[in-house]
Assembly symmetry: C2
Homo-oligomer: 135 residues x 2
DNA sequence: TATAAACCTATTGACATAGTAGGTAAGTAG
DNA sequence: CTACTTACCTACTATGTCAATAGGTTTATA
């Protein structure tokens, strides 16, 4: 299941993209529009800043803004930033040690194909696609 | 993430399919072959029996067997039986109440398409496909 | 009657998720 | 220089799920 963190982060990114004209968008506004608790949003935006896909500015007139154009973000990137690898099974995690049953495992090809499917899907949709409703 | 329960259950079903000639396969044998704890396997097999995709027989000479031909099981069915609905987000769960943000939610179409993708994938692979290594 | 097997109920430890609380640092406006 | 706004930081908590274990009961066969 896609976590709320990942889902919220997507909505936040969309929200920011839709308010690019304002130089910086304060957290409070996003929280109000998206109906997400300010405190919880803090955590999410912290992750986005850390991952450098948004930039934060403190003080009056501060807030958050995108660091790139909406078409330069993929949905997969945003999701993985907030909830970790999209891998559907432990043995396909990026840092996974090779499973001893590797050779004989009859289900492994299935998970590999599923893994590829997920990645292809999410890494081929950009933030702009989302906003434009085309995908 | 696909749970171990679902992954194990798939392997169990494959194992049973590969030993159809023996009328009933005891849990102990499956556990040994698949290197899964007997106690944990009990839980999984209980679910499979409850879902009527395998049949159990008690007493000496007892064990488990499939109730249909391998080509009549889909992978999706087996997974959902042991770990619940494959829906990637709460608002697409079978019993979910309609979200108030339904209309305005810009991410909903994304989840819907993802949901469809997952279902198409898993419900179009049969146990026989898995065993034959074709998919 | 002994044995092999499924079946049943309960419990545990570890971990992740979703969310809250309170305080600190940085920048702007008066 | 002071007040205000805003991001940023650390810690905590309640809830729930997952993976696994333990011990006992019932059913069938030889």
């Amino acid at each position: 299941m896609i976590s709320t963190k990942a889902r919220y982060s997507l909505r936040v990114m969309v929200d920011l993209a839709q308010h690019q004209e304002e130089t910086y968008v304060p957290l409070k506004e996003i929280a109000k529009r998206q109906k997400i608790s300010e405190k919880y949003l803090e955590i999410i935006l912290k992750m986005l800043v850390k991952g450098k896909i948004v930039k934060g500015l403190r003080g009056k007139g501060g807030g958050y803004r995108l660091t790139r154009m909406p078409k330069e973000y993929t949905v997969g990137e945003i999701i993985e930033l907030t909830e970790g690898p999209l891998s559907p099974v432990a043995c396909l995690m990026p840092d996974a040690e090779t499973c001893p049953r590797n050779e004989e495992c009859i289900t492994l090809p299935l998970w590999k194909k599923y893994n590829a499917l997920i990645h292809d899907f999410f890494y081929n949709i950009t933030l702009e696609d989302l906003i434009a409703g085309r995908f």
